[in-house]
């Protein structure tokens, strides 16, 4: 009976440690290691996507050879988003949820909001 309880205890502990590792420790470590890389890749992908949209719209209004070449180059440029996708999958495998990734995404998009507060503090805008 004792052996059974001890085994149960061990199994329970391992399960608890396993769950804590999967749902708390790994996402935490994953975020710590890859967050900045993820933000950079997100920004680079966004940038090539913007370029692609601009190139596509340019062809709509100006069907010159130059515009078409730019669009083709922008299409190839979209391959950069592969790295972002790969990193995204990696982070999901580390246990981050879609919600966590969106949160990091918003943080990256709005990172420069801090410079507004710095600007206001620096200039001490007071009335």
């Amino acid at each position: 009976m004792n052996k059974f309880l001890i085994s149960l205890n061990i199994i329970g502990s391992i399960a608890c440690i396993g769950l804590a590792t999967k749902f708390i420790a790994l996402p935490f470590i994953g975020t710590k290691i890859y967050k900045e890389d993820y933000k950079t890749l997100m920004f680079l992908c966004d940038n090539v996507m913007q370029n692609h949209l601009i190139a596509k719209n340019k062809v709509n209004v100006d069907k010159s050879n130059e515009s078409i070449k730019q669009l083709q180059a922008a299409e190839v440029g979209l391959l950069s988003c592969n790295d972002y996708d790969t990193m995204r999958k990696k982070l999901i495998s580390w246990g981050l949820t879609e919600n966590d990734l969106s949160q990091i995404g918003i943080e990256a998009l709005e990172e420069k909001a801090s410079d507004v507060r710095t600007f206001v503090r620096t200039h001490e805008i007071k009335y």
Binding site: D46, Q50, I54, E110, V116, V120, H123, I125
Partner: protein, 391 residues
């Protein structure tokens, strides 16, 4: 004695020339520009303008970001909207949700000749083909009434993203109708007196009120409260006052060497067209990562990349900080941004991508907006002249 006489004669000639230039630049007396088709709704509009119930769930009113003491704006670089406390810098530092652009002043909005709204002109009734987010069927033929439909359904600006908003947030006119309906219900419930008065003024039942009716009250109030009034410039043109030496020199630069009048023309000192002036970019920008593609976001025409509407100049002295992202603090810096933008930036301290974006903005900048080199003294004179547009 002869020299003094000659100097006085030259000054008189300068004044005569400059007055001619101001008139041919499109100047009109303030009284000629006022129009208010809904004068009877002004008092109700004041209540709605000041009411935080105009925001469905964000606890914010028009007045929160358009304050008298900041010249009808908020006194900070970019608007600090829902989720904050207080106003101006205090609101910004209190953790309010930030918007990507500088809050606009209201002077002369909806007056004669003022039919292009927002930094990117997303409401533009200046041509027969009216442009707005409502496509070919705007809620009103009045540009200001149509413009008053936008902030209340803008997430972060006057709306918090709750479950109801999430359900209705895709950019379709039909979905937005649900949000407008909810805003009207909220106003009728929480501003019962103003709603009753509005229904009475329009001769309809309270239950039949629509958001457009409330937007009409806002337009009426804005037109009345922020109407253009006689400025020193107007008095000079009418011969009631004279320019100081600095103001006259500034006017000569504005209409001469600086060619500011190329774009800052017409009765509102704006041609209401769109140009790229490489102001520094502050904040995360409408396109994220510190990028704001400006008018391009409205037209998707690559010719409109990084372009913003020429800002009207009445009361410009009171409406700092300046630029679409409020990145320059003083009028002197704002003038400098037109001909020497790099002097406003610590390029060596910028991140690599910010430098890349800056180079892009510079490459798109319009030769039309390129001002000749001005000395710092000349810049100060231009600022003196611009101050004559205050009232």
């Amino acid at each position: 004695m002869l020299v003094t006489f000659q100097v006085a004669l030259a000054e008189n000639a300068e004044i005569r020339i400059i007055k001619q230039q101001i008139k041919s630049g499109g100047f009109l007396p303030s009284g000629d520009l006022y129009r208010n088709p809904d004068e009877k709704l002004v008092d109700i509009g004041k209540v709605i303008f000041e009411s935080k119930h105009l925001s469905l769930n964000g606890n914010i009113s028009c007045q929160t970001c358009h304050l008298d003491r900041f010249g009808s704006t908020d006194g900070i670089p970019i608007a600090a909207a829902v989720g904050g406390e207080g106003d101006g810098p205090k609101r910004l530092l209190s953790g309010a949700k930030l918007l990507p652009r500088n809050a606009l002043a209201f002077w002369g909005r909806g007056a004669k000749g003022f039919d292009v709204f927002f930094w990117d002109g997303r409401v533009d009734f200046s041509a027969p083909k009216k442009i707005s987010q409502f496509g070919s069927n705007p809620p009103s033929s009045d540009s200001l009434v149509t413009a008053d439909h936008l902030p209340v359904v803008e997430i972060r600006e006057m709306l918090q993203e709750d479950e109801f908003v999430q359900k209705n947030k895709n950019e379709s006119v039909d979905k937005s109708k649900e949000v407008y309906k909810a805003i009207v219900q909220n106003l009728v419930k929480k501003e019962p007196e103003a709603s009753r008065n509005l229904a009475k003024a329009l001769g309809k039942d309270v239950s039949k009120l629509e958001y457009t009716d409330f937007a009409r009250t806002l337009a009426a109030f804005i037109r009345s409260e922020f109407r253009l009034k006689p400025s020193k410039l107007e008095n000079v043109i009418l011969g009631k006052e004279s320019f100081t030496q600095s103001e006259l020199k500034g006017a000569l630069v504005f209409y001469g060497k600086g060619a500011c009048v190329t774009c800052h023309a017409g009765p509102h000192f704006s041609d209401f067209k769109f140009y790229t002036v490489p102001f520094p970019q502050l904040g995360f920008g409408r396109n994220g990562f510190g990028v704001d593609l400006g008018r391009y976001n409205v037209t998707f025409n690559t010719k409109d990349l990084y372009k913003f509407r020429t800002p009207p100049l009445y009361n410009v002295e009171k409406t700092g900080p300046y630029g679409h992202s409020g990145s320059v603090r003083t009028m002197e810096e704002a003038v400098t941004a037109h001909y020497d933008p790099l002097s406003l930036l610590a390029v060596d301290k910028m991140k690599q991508f910010d430098k890349f974006e800056l180079a892009k903005r510079l490459s798109y900048s319009d030769s039309t907006t390129r001002v000749n080199y001005l000395s710092s003294e000349e810049v100060n004179h231009v600022v003196s002249f611009l101050k004559t547009l205050s009232f």
